[in-house]
């Protein structure tokens, strides 16, 4: 096979010869140019396949006829070929992207580009220190020159600053090389015995390392880099971010083994600091390229840290972590720079001009999600394993920095994404030539392919876990079909999936299976109402539903977490479809991501699960450390909207599309419940010293109360129901926290009940919204005459929520209060009573302001809700009535689940249930209620003589005439007096807290980034000071 030496030779030769060749015609020189780039890529590809799959040994190439260390030698092994393959591929694609520019500019640009690529190849392969220096110089010089690619003043200035900074760092590098040579007698890395260096002599190593490290643009000595990123041509920017960085990173990788241990750690910490602060500063950035610059710098910092802190881990893991981060960064960053060159807008708020294009938003989305470290992209797996290693090494501060930095990154990335997708676009882009789309398009495909490879070969997952992604891809392909057809396909696929999953190993899985899958199926019926094609909707919906199912069968932490993240992504994208959903979806993503990171840490801290049991069963044998319980619990409680982290909930529910809210409220929140149960199962056998669940109980109880209050003060019907969900799930959380038999029976009962009545309510509300086109309740009224079916649904559902017998809600309340009093949680029970009483307020408000009172003029002709909404409502209603009349239908199975974990505390005889405190006979209550209802009705009918039906507006009005229906309906701010009574308790403190925290972070970012003054000399000062600080820190 061709020796890689030819890459260098060919590159140099082409570089020299391009100038004369160009005289023969630009076409010829372009051909040569692209040939060289392609040649590089192909050689590396072949070599990589050799090393990776055919087990070839690393290649050592001697030069000049001598053996090392007398001559320079090159090494090409698995790692080198991996880096170079993708680096050359990126360079090739960037070259294609810049085709027009190369065609029009002078030949010098192509020459410089070729030299850059050649030197990056050389830098990676060489084993000689001085050679490293030379290649870095060549790389730098060609890069400086290429910064003038677009001939703008700004580029010239930033290029000059780059030159200055590069000059300083090379100076230190050269000094280091000289002294290392002096002390060790060799320039070849493989022959330097760094352990023999005395204390003073390690300064030389330090100089060597810092010389390379500065080129990696650490914080805060990186102002020059940011200016460069901001002003260069995007294609060149991509090359700097990916090709240059890859090569220099690899050079650093080669030097690291020489350094003493504590020096390595200092560099690792420096990397983490870079990651954290770059992402923090990115929060305030509005220039797209500069933002990508911050992100690149941050990612390189993370890479360095990953490199250093995973040194003692098994090779396979190191490949996944470092390789994963590397590839993730490469693909996503290059892709985003390339899109930036297509979009040509410098401000991120103007990127919406692309959102009408067919392909660009998709590619943009892929790259953003990859960069954010979300599955299925490589960054996700790398982060998961990295977190585990950090935890094993007890590096908690580092871990927090990584997670916090990731969170910041997520904030600005998703803000950008959402703004781009959701802003109204009146000036779409002109047609984009195909050559420009090749590069990002190929990388988009590559991202997905590599993700699949990791999932299948590294983790050998069952195909089921990839199903969410496959669903999105499949529906993307059939997106042109009409909506109803896609709905039918969705139902069928859900049916097949459920059937496949059906032999569950345990009853509790079956229970949650019914809630997640059967509940979703019935809710799916309401989506049949959609007209047109609903592009993108069904893909994400099925992704979410399949992730729900996968949660139930997950057998280890990673499978669970993977499905959890898929669920979050899918629900985020669904919420994003709402008309005014920008703020809501961002908040949702933020809170979910924060919860997910806490969960990641929590799972990493937990002992490993082995075995083939589904997680929900396997957790029984796991002893979770206290910190793990707390982290996981917080993560799950964020998903359930518990007090303190609930502010995303009302926004997300309200702004999501009409038929989506029902999924989120009735089903998504239950995922958090499922998680808490998992922790609970572990808690039973191994209770930690500090009773976490006691405090979770209090949080749950107050969530119930605050949710009920907040619901009462809402004007928007969806927000009212959202807060109601928050309140009800608070009951569930508190019940689980009791960890007793009756507590869990009540929690499961309420979970099931909630799914039924909340789905029914949301579907009914969706139907009303579709007909009246408003969500504000005070704009409605009197709709009972026009929408009687919806009224009945809402009536029975609110009776179910409130807990009034004989409907099923009472069973929940009976179980809950009995369990609380039996457990001894008396004050909590009192708070729940209060919450229950307050819930009447919002329930009444819901039904009164919409259905009762006066019918407004504009609604005189309103029709009943569409049939596709009526059907699911009544299916749920049937469920509610069934378990109301026959409570043992549901309580017996739930009891069977709970007795697996606790001794039974209730006795069931026929229709009666006896607890240690009291009793309840559901059937008899139903009969008596029907009796006492029918009897007066009959009496009334008999005694009443003639009744005359009058119009709604025909009312006695105390000697006046009512003006109009519009003003004769009390609905707005209905509980003003209550709000006044609450006084200082009504201030939205939690909302203010979170917004304050966000503001604080942004201010901090703004203040810190003032160090980037734009003055090149200041940047040099930064560099020098930084070197001093690192020097002192490394304890040399």
């Amino acid at each position: 096979m061709l020796s890689p030496l030819y890459i260098l030779i060919l590159g140099l030769a082409a570089g020299f010869l391009l100038s004369p060749i160009d005289k023969a015609g630009r076409k010829l020189s372009l051909t040569v140019f692209y040939f060289v780039l392609t040649f590089n890529t192909v050689v590396m590809a072949v070599r990589f396949i050799d090393f990776a799959f055919l087990g070839a040994a690393p290649l050592l190439i001697q030069t000049a006829g001598f053996q090392a260390p007398l001559s320079i030698n090159l090494q090409l092994g698995l790692v080198e070929s991996f880096v170079l393959l993708f680096s050359n591929l990126a360079a090739l694609l960037a070259g294609i992207l810049l085709f027009k520019k190369f065609k029009e500019n002078s030949i010098a640009t192509m020459i410089l580009y070729l030299i850059l690529v050649m030197s990056s190849n050389g830098l990676v392969m060489t084993r000689d220190l001085f050679n490293i220096f030379v290649f870095i110089e060549i790389l730098s010089i060609s890069t400086y020159a290429l910064t003038f690619f677009n001939n703008k003043d700004k580029s010239l200035i930033s290029g000059f600053k780059y030159l200055l900074a590069g000059g300083v760092s090379s100076m230190f590098l050269l000094l280091g090389v000289v002294f290392v040579y002096y002390y060790s007698g060799s320039l070849n890395i493989d022959f330097i015995k760094a352990e023999n260096f005395s204390h003073y002599q390690t300064i030389a190593l330090f100089l060597l390392a810092i010389g390379v490290f500065i080129e990696l643009k650490p914080f805060p000595a990186n102002g020059w880099a940011l200016d460069v990123y901001e002003s260069v041509n995007s294609g060149i920017g991509s090359v700097i971010a990916v090709v240059n960085s890859a090569a220099i990173f690899f050079a650093f990788y080669k030097i690291v083994p020489l350094l003493p241990h504590n020096m390595q750690n200092v560099f690792g910490i420096a990397g983490i600091v870079t990651f954290l602060f770059s992402n923090l500063l990115g929060l305030k950035q509005e220039n797209a390229k500069r933002l990508l610059g911050y992100s690149s710098i941050g990612q390189m910092g993370l890479l360095v840290a990953a490199l250093i802190f995973t040194q003692n881990s098994p090779t396979r893991l190191v490949y996944l972590i470092v390789g994963g981060f590397f590839l993730n960064h490469l693909i996503a960053k290059a892709g985003l720079f390339w899109i930036s060159s297509i979009v040509k807008e410098s401000n991120i708020n103007r990127w919406f001009v692309m959102n009408k294009h067919k392909l660009l938003p998709l590619l943009f989305g892929i790259f953003i999600f990859a960069l954010a470290g979300l599955p299925p992209f490589p960054g996700f797996w790398a982060k998961w394993e990295f977190v585990k290693i950090l935890v094993q090494g007890k590096m908690y501060l580092t871990l927090s920095a990584v997670l916090l930095g990731s969170l910041f990154e997520l904030v600005f990335l998703f803000r950008w994404f959402i703004k781009t997708l959701k802003t109204e676009n009146t000036q779409p882009l002109p047609k984009i030539e195909f050559s420009k789309l090749i590069a990002p398009g190929l990388f988009g495909i590559l991202a997905i392919v590599i993700s699949n490879i990791i999932m299948r070969y590294f983790y050998s997952f069952n195909i089921l876990y990839a199903l969410p992604v496959l669903a999105v891809l499949f529906f993307f392909l059939i997106d042109f079909l009409p909506s109803k057809l896609k709905a039918i396909i969705s139902m069928l696929s859900l049916a097949v999936y459920s059937y496949y999953l059906y032999p569950f190993e345990s009853k509790i899985q079956l229970f949650f299976g019914i809630i997640f899958l059967a509940g979703s199926a019935v809710n799916l019926i309401s989506t049949f109402n959609r007209k047109g094609k609903s592009k993108g909707f069904y893909g994400f919906l099925m992704m979410m539903i399949f992730s729900f199912g996968n949660l139930i069968i997950a057998q280890n932490y990673l499978e669970f977490f993977l499905s959890w993240e898929f669920m979050t992504i899918a629900s985020f994208l669904l919420i994003l479809r709402g008309r005014k959903a920008e703020k809501a979806s961002l908040m949702y993503m933020m809170f979910s991501a924060a919860g997910a990171y806490l969960m990641m840490a929590g799972f990493a801290l937990a002992p490993d699960i082995s075995g083939q049991l589904p997680l929900i069963l396997g957790m029984a044998n796991v002893h979770l450390p206290l910190i793990s319980i707390i982290l996981l619990a917080i993560g799950f409680m964020i998903k359930s909207g518990s007090l303190g982290v609930h502010i995303w909930l009302p926004e997300a529910h309200a702004e999501a599309e009409a038929d989506v809210s029902s999924f989120i409220s009735a089903i998504l929140l239950k995922a958090g419940v499922f998680g808490l149960l998992m922790i609970g199962i572990s808690y039973i056998k191994s209770t930690p010293s500090f009773d976490v669940f006691y405090w979770i109980g209090w949080i749950g109880v107050f969530t119930a109360l605050v949710g009920a209050f907040l619901a009462s003060f809402q004007e928007d019907m969806k927000k009212l129901l959202a807060y109601s969900s928050m309140s009800q799930v608070g009951y569930i959380v508190a019940s689980i926290a009791m960890v007793t038999h009756l507590g869990w029976v009540s929690a499961l009962y309420l979970t099931f009940n909630h799914m039924l009545f909340k789905s029914a309510l949301f579907v009914a509300i969706a139907g009303i919204y579709i007909r009246t086109n408003t969500r504000m309740m005070y704009k409605m009224g009197g709709l009972i005459k026009r929408m009687p079916l919806s009224f009945i649904t809402v009536l029975i559902s609110i009776i179910a929520v409130s807990g009034v017998p004989p409907v099923s809600g009472f069973g929940a309340k009976w179980l809950i209060y009995t369990s609380f009093i039996a457990k001894g949680w008396y004050l909590q029970a009192a708070v729940l009573f209060f919450a229950s009483a307050v819930s009447f307020l919002y329930l009444y408000r819901l039904i009164h302001t919409i259905f009762l009172g006066q019918l407004k003029y504009e609604h005189q002709e309103v029709k009943e809700a569409p049939i596709w909404f009526i059907i699911p409502q009544y299916i749920f209603l049937a469920g509610i009535m069934a378990i109301s009349a026959f409570p043992s239908l549901i309580i017996k199975p739930l009891n069977a689940i709970a007795v697996q974990y606790f001794d039974s505390s209730i006795i069931m005889e026929g229709y009666s249930i006896y607890s240690q405190l009291g009793h309840w006979n559901g059937g008899l209550v139903m009969l008596v209620t029907m009796g006492v209802f029918i009897t007066p009705l009959v009496i009334l009918l008999l005694l009443n003589g003639k009744t005359q039906k009058v119009k709604q507006f025909n009312i006695v009005y105390a000697a006046e005439r009512p003006e109009s229906p519009q003003t004769t309906h009390i609905a707005h701010n209905m509980y003003a007096h209550y709000r006044k009574a609450l006084g200082a308790w009504g201030v939205p403190r939690i909302w203010n807290f979170w917004h304050g925290a966000s503001e604080w972070a942004h201010s901090l970012a703004n203040n810190i980034r003032q160090i980037y003054t734009g003055n090149g000399q200041t940047y040099l000062l930064h560099i020098i000071l930084y070197i001093v600080v690192i020097y002192i820190g490394s304890g040399v």
């Binding site: 005459k785 009776i799 409130s802 807990g803 009034v804 017998p805 009472f810 009976w814 209060y817 009093i821 008396y826 009192a830 009573f833 209060f834 009483a837 307020l841 009444y844 408000r845 039904i847 009164h848 009762l852 009172g853 006066q854 009666s912 405190l917 009291g918 009793h919 309840w920 006979n921 008899l924 008596v928 209620t929 009796g931 006492v932 209802f933 007066p936 009705l937 009496i939 009334l940 005694l943 009443n944 003589g945 009744t947 005359q948 039906k949 507006f953 025909n954 009312i955 006695v956 009005y957 105390a958 004769t968 309906h969 009390i970 609905a971 209905m974 007096h977 209550y978 006044k980 009574a981």
Partner: protein, 309 residues
């Protein structure tokens, strides 16, 4: 056959409760009148009222929900009454207490409220929901001390079954909850003021503030049913309080037990009536704050006291 007898007994029980409730109503009106230095209506006035309202020839209705409102209300009252065992140890007056315990009774009280709220809302009057909003808010406020009292006695007697609670209070007057758990009783009695909607908590139907609404829109048999319900519901609440806090009505001879019941319920009722006659009305926010302060505090102390001492 069993069920027929049971229903027959229930009818007797309800009749007694209705008659007594209406009589109580009459006594109260007479008392108010005398306090205000008037003569007042005759004692049997409530009975006459009901006969009068049912005799009307024509009534108006606004629709199905409006029609059903009073029915719900009466169903609530009847149901609440029927789930409470009235006289300890009596089969006739045992009602359907085997259907559920104290929790059932507490929640069934809401059934009537809800129904009436729906019926009133359907009336189309703007002020009905105002009254209902105030009523529900007040209810949520007084539920808190009441539930604390209930929890307190649940801990004390280790049961939520009303019959068991009554049984535990037999023996001597000192076994009454009034003496064994006075704080709980205090909290509950203050809640009772809210429940009965007399001054100072009469803002819900305050005639001077809400001149229109259910009392006006509902006429004829609707009104009659509402008035009947007032009597039954009042009886139910009084019997409940009697059972929980004042030793219940227990005597081997049913008639003497009934007399004991009448005396005790009269006493409990006069408590709220006399306070009502003496105090002016609270504003909405004042009444809510009131319930959430001292009565709640008393309730919390009673729970803690019982739980830990």
């Amino acid at each position: 056959m069993d069920i027929i007898i049971k229903i027959f007994y229930a009818v007797i029980s309800i009749t007694v409760a209705t008659v007594w409730g209406l009589t109580l109503g009459g006594i109260v009106r007479k008392t108010y009148a005398r306090v205000h230095k008037r003569i007042g209506p005759p004692l049997i006035q409530p009975f006459l009222d009901i006969i009068q309202t049912h005799s009307r020839r024509e009534t108006i209705t606004h629709g199905v929900m409006f029609y059903l409102g009073p029915v719900f209300r009466l169903a609530g009252g009847l149901g609440t009454y029927l789930f409470i065992p009235v006289i300890f140890g009596s089969v006739v007056f045992g009602n359907f207490s085997m259907a559920g315990d104290l929790l059932l009774v507490m929640y069934f009280i809401f059934f009537g409220q809800l129904g009436m709220a729906l019926g009133a809302g359907e009336g189309g009057h703007p002020y009905s929901p105002l009254g209902i909003a105030r009523g529900l808010s007040q209810m949520s406020a007084f539920e808190l001390p009441f539930s604390l009292a209930v929890i307190s006695i649940a801990i004390q007697y280790n049961s939520l079954n009303i019959t068991d609670i009554v049984a535990a209070q037999q023996g001597s007057i000192l076994n009454w909850t009034l003496f064994t758990n006075p704080l709980a009783v205090m909290a509950a009695m203050i809640s009772l003021l809210g429940m009965n909607m007399h001054s100072p908590f009469s803002l819900v139907l305050a005639p001077q503030e809400i001149p229109i609404g259910p009392p006006i829109e509902m006429s004829g048999s609707f009104l009659g049913i509402l008035q009947t319900n007032r009597a039954i519901f009042a009886s139910a609440k009084l019997v409940l309080f009697m059972n929980l806090f004042f030793g219940g009505a227990a005597h081997p001879n049913v008639l003497i037990a009934l007399i004991i019941l009448m005396i005790k319920t009269l006493g409990i009722y006069m408590f709220s009536v006399l306070i009502g006659a003496s105090f002016p009305r609270f504003r909405p926010e004042q009444s809510f704050r009131f319930f959430l302060k001292w009565p709640t505090l008393i309730g919390i102390i009673s729970v803690l006291f019982i739980a830990y001492f």
